[in-house]
Each structure stands twice: as C-alpha cells, then as structure tokens.
C-alpha cells in the first residue's frame, strides 16, 4: 500500500507544477485531454465494467455542453455552478436512455446508441429550441477569469492555467469517485452483470436498477466532461458534436484499456494528440491512419495500454 501512496504524491506534485512548465497553448490542449479523460471514464464504467456497448456517448457530451452553455448564456450562471446541473441533467437523460437499453444487448445497443449519435447534431438545430440553443449560430461563452493574480517561473496565471486547475480538481474528484464506485458493492454488481447476467440475477442483484444506474452515472460523467469542454473551448455549435466524437470516445476507452480506471487517461491522450500526428502523416486521409492504429491495437493488444502495463507488471513480478 505504501508504494501506491508514493505514486500518488509524486503524480500530485507533477500535476500541480505542470501548467507552469508549458506554454498557454499546451495547457489548453492538456485541459481538453483531461476533459476527454472524464468522458472516456464515464463510457468505461458503462462499457468496460458494465459490458453495455455505447456508440452514442457524444450525445451526452453534447447535452452537458449545451446545458452549461445555455445556463451561462441565458441565465448568467457562473461556470462552476453549471457543472453539477449538467451532471444532474445527464444523469436523468442517461437513466431515460437506460430503460430502452435494458432490453438491448451487444450489437442492438451499439446500433441504438449509434443512431442517437447521428441524430443529435440535427436535434440541436431543431427550430423549436433555436432561441435557447442559438440554433446553427451556436453560443459564444466567456471563459471564467482567474480570481487573483499570480506569477511563477515567469508565467502569469492565465485563463488557461486557471481553467487547468478547475479541470484538474474535477478530474481527480471523478476518478476518485469512480475508483470507490467500482470497488464497492455496486461495482461488483456491475461486473457480475457483465460476466454472468443470469447468474447475477439469481444471486439477487436487481439487474434493472443496477443497469439503469450505471447508464445514468456513465452519462453524468460524460455530461460533466461536456460542460467542462464547452467552458474550455468557450463555444458550442451543433457541428461540434458530430458522430465521429462518439467514435473517438469508444476508441479512447479501448486504447486506454477497458475495465480500468487509469486507462481513461491514456485513451484521452490518444484521441487528443494522435489526430494531429495522423494529420502530419497524410493530409488527405488522417482518419485512415487513425483507423489503422485502432485495428492494430485491437489485434495486438486488445487489453489496451493498461492491458500491456499489467502484462509487464505481471511479467516481471513472476
């Protein structure tokens, strides 16, 4: 146990100092990476631990983002206050989506959520809600301003660094919550349902309740990520939540390692930085490179990055 605490302290120190070692732009990229990590962790709870496949988590990311954007734009909410509300709204929408999902498994659920991901951009442009969502124009938000001046290593506490600490706190909180959830009673029930649903039912696990709650919590995670993403980018528009966003989340979950908590960080780094690399490799087909990497990973290391790390750990510990 001692070793893990040492890891945690070292990581904590690095996390706090990091933004002062990087330029504003890199910090902005780091913020996006942490936001994606929360979204992927949410998806991981549902797919990695719960075994329910979702190709539509971009929809909850969009709902979270728009909840925050509309509250900040129309109701002059402060950015921080929108986070819990976005979580709540997405929890409810997750549970609502969870009910039909109860009767679906495997391919069918993947299909239903894929349809959701494709329909969301159009729904956001719907005339009926245009005066709230700004329709196709989207909504421009202003970033939360740092509350005090601060200088360190020759760099000022800019909006991005302020945003970094907000995102860092939320990320640590979410990862800690997930850790407890997964190792607690509910977590065991979720995993039991994934591996032996009928046996789990026989042991008195209330499948309906656990599955819908898992869907709700997973949606809430992705919703909070959506809200943070909207604030960090300070602009939302229907075209920001294209179908490929949901695919990227799934890719991140797989690359990082399904059924693992830290895996979400590696997955987030992958979907944040690899597209830029792929863009350099081939201007006309960045997605071909992206797809090829994904295929290679599925064949070579289905356990993802965490799978490899565990294999190394198990390897040398023998």
């Amino acid at each position: 146990m001692k070793l893990r605490i040492q890891y945690a302290i070292v990581l904590g120190v690095i996390a706090v100092i990091l933004p002062w070692l990087l330029s504003d732009f890199r910090v902005f990229q780091l913020n996006l990476m942490l936001v994606y990590a929360i979204a992927i962790l949410g998806l991981n709870l549902l797919t990695g631990y719960g075994g329910q496949i979702s190709l539509g988590h971009g929809a909850f990311y969009a709902i979270g983002a728009y909840t925050a954007a509309v509250l900040m734009d129309k109701a002059a909410f402060s950015a921080y206050a929108t986070l819990p509300i976005a979580a709540l709204v997405c929890l409810v929408s997750g549970v609502l989506m969870g009910f039909p999902a109860l009767r679906l498994s495997g391919h069918y659920l993947a299909l239903a959520t894929f349809a959701l991901a494709m329909a969301v951009p159009q729904l956001l442009k719907y005339k009926g809600i245009e005066d709230y969502t700004g329709g196709v124009q989207g909504i421009v938000l202003d970033k939360p301003q740092p509350l005090f001046e601060f200088e360190f290593l020759g760099k000022a506490l800019s909006e991005d660094r302020w945003m970094y600490y907000l995102v860092l706190i939320v990320t640590v909180l979410m990862f800690w919550l997930a850790h407890n959830l997964v190792n607690g009673r509910i977590g065991r029930a979720i995993v039991a349902i994934r591996d032996q649903p009928i046996a789990a039912g026989a042991l008195g696990v209330n499948l309906t309740a656990v599955k819908t709650i898992t869907f709700g919590v997973s949606a809430a995670y992705t919703g909070v990520a959506g809200a943070l993403g909207a604030i960090a980018v300070s602009y939302v528009a229907p075209d920001s939540f294209h179908t490929f966003l949901s695919i990227s989340f799934l890719v991140g979950a797989v690359v990082g390692g399904l059924g693992t908590i830290p895996g979400a960080l590696f997955g987030a780094a992958f979907i944040q930085f690899v597209p830029n690399v792929a863009d350099e490799i081939s201007k006309s087909a960045p997605w071909a490179v992206y797809g090829a990497i994904l295929l290679a990973l599925v064949y070579v290391a289905p356990g993802g990055v965490m799978g490899m790390i565990n294999k190394l750990k198990r390897g040398d510990s023998k």
Partner: protein, 290 residues
C-alpha cells in the same frame, strides 16, 4: 392528392435504396450474427470502383457486373483478413473492428478518388414508362433492380447447395462442420454477398445522390431502420422495412414534423423497434439458450 402521391412515390424510390442497404445488413447478420457498421462505406468504395471503370471507357453493364464481382471478392477478403481473427472475441471487439473499417474505407474513398462530386450515369431512361409524373425512370429502374436482387438472393438460399450450407452454418455451426461444411468460408461468403449487394445499392443510389465519399453517411441509418423494422434475420422483411421507412419518412417529413427532423424519425424507429418488437415485423423469434 397530387402532392401526397408524389411523396409516396418518392418515398418508395428512397425506400428501394434503404431496402438494398437493409438487405446487405441482413446478409451479414444471417451468416455472422454481427451488424456491420462499415456496410455503408464499403458500398461507397465499390461504387467509386464502378465509376472509375466507366470513366476509363468501359460500358455501363460490364462495369456494373465487374464491380459486383470485385465487391464480392473484396467482402470475402475483408472477412478473412480482418473479421476472422476476432470471430471468437467478445462483441465489443468486433464492433470496434467494424468502426475502424468504417473510418478506413471512408478515408480511402477520399484519398484515392478525391472529393470532387462525381456524376454517375443511370442505365435507365429519364422518363419512366409507368406513372411518369410521380416517379423518374431511374427510380423505377432501381426499384426493379432491388426486387431482382431480392429474388436472386431468395433463389440462391432456397435452391442451391451452397445457399443451404450457408443457412445451416449460420444456425448451427457445430453440426455444419460435422457434415463437412467449412464454416469459416461460409461466413466469408456471407460477407462477400453483403458487399456485392451493398455495391448494387450504391450504384443505384449514385445517379440520384451524386457520388462523393460521404454519400452513404446519411443512408446507413435508414438502412439499419429498414433491416430492424423488417426483422434483422429475414431478407424479405428488410426489403419491406425499407419501403415502409422510405414512405413513412417522406410523409412524416412533409405533413407532420417538418423535413428538418427526418433523422430523428430513423432514430425513433430504430429504438422503438428494438425495444417494443426486437425481432421486427417479420423476423423469427430470437431464442437464446441459457
């Protein structure tokens, strides 16, 4: 009344495209119990091959059948190379392979054939012989081709030994291998057929929608809705489902909810069918052994 008939007929025409895509999806589901998310992009890629053949001087029908052949072989190769290694793996890994294939085929279409809009000529006369003011020549033609493909598929599965073997392999792979059927090749054949049907759907659609790498993006969802509504394991059902979705989408778009929510119609259809009637209108009961 005139407007209504126009909507119904253009719905039927669109429906024939959704039916063909739905049929391709059923082909793969029947033989592999997988839903192929890359079906749309594979069809677009095959249609580009046909366009390239025609563009380099080949006659339409020669290019048409050559493309169907190439698409068939392509489908078999894709199954043997990409799908077979993960056959026994959990559903999620398969879904990810399909998604990766979707993304790769889409990018390759853009890379090899670039993004300029391409016209695709139709083998059918412009004015249709039947009810010309409601339906165009090509729409009537593609309706006919879709039904012809369905008939060929029906005859193939009903009366040829390979067709029978494929059905057997799909239902009971263990027994199939015990009567000497190479089950993995049957799955590959299923993919080949689906890819060929997808190519036909693409070639029927390109003259209406004009060919570009993202031609099929919108259609795939309607193809899913068609296959599910009709019954994911029933070819006839998928075709009927396609026509229903086409007409329903047009009528709802024109008269009920306005044409800017049409994708949502497909979403509601898919989720509704899956939850209320999982095996669709005409599908067999889905029985899973404990």
């Amino acid at each position: 009344m005139d407007g209504f008939l126009l909507q119904v007929f253009s719905g039927l025409a669109n429906g024939s495209i959704y039916a063909a895509v739905g049929l391709a999806l059923v082909m793969i589901y029947q033989s592999t119990h997988h839903i192929n998310f890359a079906q749309g992009e594979m069809a677009t890629f095959s249609t580009f091959i046909c366009w390239w053949l025609i563009d380099s001087g080949m006659s339409y029908w020669l290019a048409f059948f050559l493309t169907v052949g190439v698409a068939f072989i392509g489908g078999v190769v894709v199954q043997r190379v990409f799908i077979r290694p993960v056959e026994r793996k959990p559903v999620l890994i398969n879904v990810i392979v399909f998604v990766a294939l979707l993304v790769i085929f889409n990018a390759m279409s853009g890379w090899i054939f670039d993004h300029t809009l391409k016209a695709f000529d139709s083998p059918f006369p412009v004015r249709s012989a039947v009810l010309p003011e409601y339906i165009s020549g090509h729409q009537l033609g593609s309706l006919g081709v879709t039904l012809a493909v369905l008939l060929v598929i029906y005859l193939f599965f009903r009366f040829t030994p390979i067709g029978l073997a494929m059905r057997g392999a799909a239902q009971n792979p263990d027994s199939a291998s015990l009567v000497g059927i190479r089950v993995t090749w049957m799955l590959a054949l299923g993919w080949g057929l689906a890819s060929a049907i997808g190519a036909v759907a693409g070639m029927m659609m390109a003259p209406i929608m004009f060919l570009d790498p993202n031609m099929m993006a919108g259609i795939l969802l309607y193809g899913f809705a068609a296959a599910l509504l009709g019954g994911i394991d029933n070819p006839w059902g998928a075709v009927a489902g396609g026509f229903i979705v086409g007409v329903l989408e047009n009528l709802l778009g024109a008269y009920v909810i306005g044409s800017d929510l049409k994708l949502t119609v497909a979403l509601v259809l898919i989720v509704g069918t899956l939850t209320l009637k999982p095996n669709g209108l005409f599908g067999q009961k889905v029985v899973t052994r404990v």
